[in-house]
Amino acid sequence: MRQAAEFTIDYEQVLDARAELVAPLPPFAKDLDTVTAMYRAMVRARAFDAKCVNLQRTGQLGTYASCLGHEAVHIAVGCALKPEDVLAPVYREVGTQLERGVDMREILLYWGGDERGNDFQRARHDFPWCVPIATQTLHATGAAMAFKLRREPRCALAYIGDGGTSEGAFYEALNMAGARALPVVFMIVNNGWAISVPVRAQTAARTLAQKAIAAGIPGVQVDGNDVLAVRSVVERALATARAGGGPAVIEALTYRLSDHTTADDASRYRPPGEVREAWTVEPLVRVRRYLERLNAWSETEEAAHIAECAREIEAAVADYSNAPRPTTDAMFEHLFARLPPHLEWQRALAGAYARSDGH
């Protein structure tokens, strides 16, 4: 008997939970200002996320999926992508959206039940939030086909959760991307839980990254709480893809420190010890310690930055709160490029019975 094929899955980490460097600094991280900016972005995303949860709790926002604990992945991906690249998000990537230039106001509008929140004023070619699990991976693959056809040096990046990797669409997207060597990166955010189902109940695979192997593309695991490692891995994958080297799968190991959404209560199914343990390796504190140790950050700067984020967030919330409720016409607008006649009649009907109380 001889071996037909052999595979390994690497695990990458640069800055461990004690803020010790365990691998050489990636090139971008040699500039401390860059790392500081990434830390600032992580703090900003966490502050905005906390505000969103608060707005939901006080009845000012609909159901919301918190990104608490995912900031390293979200900011790393946001930094690694170029403006001309295309992002296919799921519904939790608040940090990446902010880095793409999506307004806080737009994010609030979407989760506040107004589709104008998907009409990003920047990131015009990015895909909107995607609720149906794993479907977005095929959109990224299709976008990558378009870039390849037009010989454009652009990449697509699709997010997916650990639960999403059980979906057929995920395997199909990988398969097509591999078969055509497309410029697309699949970022699996393995946060341990698909609502109440832990990864070990989702699959017998030892890693989710190895799911790439069957599609003939490389898969790698990375510490998803380590913003330096994630950015390094994503930048290299994008550079390879951009140069025609084909797709990649990255599995970022992190933890969903929040409930699945504001409509969920994770205490029903999750051991509290596990959550406490996860807080000891969460992504923000290690970067802060690292920067403080190098005298690149201080308590004063932390306080000033948090205050600045709060001002920005309050202004966005005020904008959002003052946005007029859409009229019933919004249901009919943009359904087609030109509205067919039978829908004109329905549009008039909806308008005639429109509620004015906002509920």
Partner: protein
């Protein structure tokens, strides 16, 4: 008709650099029905691509391609294999324009064989247009002649929104028509008046045009004046076209190969009941496939409505007035 479909795709590939054709076996093989015959040789393997054997992939990458500025024309090999793609069609293709307030859109054509009558294996003879017509944000088109296949497919490719293009398999090679390959599109959202008459309106589409024509000839020979309408666009309905004919004849028979329960005939009958009840001289009749699984091919012509059933339905409308 199958050549007309290939001609229309060739025209668009030639005249619009954004158009790409993709699907299973559409390349070297030219499609299992030859509806993409010669396209890959002429336009290359990038613009005419074989895809992996995965319908959700086909629909999903169409969303991605279209959102990034291309105009995909995809083939689903048989309508019975469409269902893995429905998630993408329902949740994304049909609503991307709406969800993004027009920022992104999906000018996609999904072509697929429609209906039975060619002794095909199980799952190859489906007529599930109702599933598609129920989805907001897409068009559903079904040509019934080579000329209409050519003109409507051109219109579908040029349309800025998704179009499901249902190609009746019985008509692929049923009869020939001369086609001027001039790139002239036919209007979407309009039914086609195939034969003018005074006594009764028959509304049908797709391959049922064959039985409807046969019924018309028999009825006309008996002195019944039949108006025959090819619906052509199944969604959105050309309500004006239907209502104008019913106002003239006062009798309506709807004929479709698809199952009866919640078939498109029910929508058309409801439309006439709501808007034209007092134009009617007799109750509306539906002649449809049965609410059964489409049988294997020994029984398929017992499933597909016959000209005789149509004639009887017309006679019923005449008898009750």
């Amino acid at each position: 008709m199958v050549e007309a479909i290939a001609m229309a795709q060739a025209w668009e590939l030639e005249h619009d650099a954004r158009v790409v054709v993709l699907g299973q076996d559409v390349g070297v093989n030219g499609g299992v029905f030859r509806a993409t015959q010669g396209l890959q040789q002429r336009f290359g393997a990038e613009r005419v691509q074989d895809t992996p054997l995965a319908e959700a992939t086909i629909a999903g990458v169409c969303v991605g391609l279209a959102a990034q500025g291309l105009k995909p024309v995809a083939e689903i090999q048989f309508m019975g294999f469409l269902y893995p793609a429905l998630d993408q069609i329902v949740n994304h293709m049909s609503r991307l324009r709406h969800r993004t307030r027009g920022r992104l859109s999906c000018p996609v054509v999904m072509r697929m064989p429609h209906g039975g009558g060619i002794r095909a294996p199980e799952h190859h003879s489906e007529c599930t247009e109702t599933l598609l017509c129920h989805i907001p944000g897409i068009r559903v088109v079904c040509p019934s002649s080579p000329q209409r296949a050519y003109g409507l497919l051109l219109a579908a490719v040029r349309d800025p929104d998704p179009v499901m293009f249902l190609e009746p398999v019985r008509l692929y090679r049923a009869f020939r028509e001369e086609i001027e390959d001039d790139g002239a599109a036919l209007p979407l959202d309009r039914c086609v008046l195939l034969h003018e008459g005074r006594d009764v309106t028959i509304v049908t589409w797709g391959a049922m045009i064959l039985e409807a024509q046969a019924a018309l000839e028999r009825l006309e020979s008996e002195g019944v004046s039949v108006e025959l309408i090819d619906l052509a666009t199944l969604s959105p309905l050309d309500t004006q076209g239907i209502l104008a004919s019913v106002a003239k004849t006062g009798r309506l028979v709807i004929v479709h190969e698809a199952a009866r329960n919640l078939g498109l005939g029910a929508e058309i009958a409801a439309l006439v009941a709501e808007r034209a009840l007092y134009d009617l001289l007799a109750p509306v009749q539906r002649v449809t496939g049965f609410d059964t699984v489409v049988p294997l091919h020994r029984l398929e012509y017992d499933y597909i409505p016959s000209a005789e059933r149509i004639v009887d339905a017309v006679r019923l409308t005449l008898a009750t007035s």
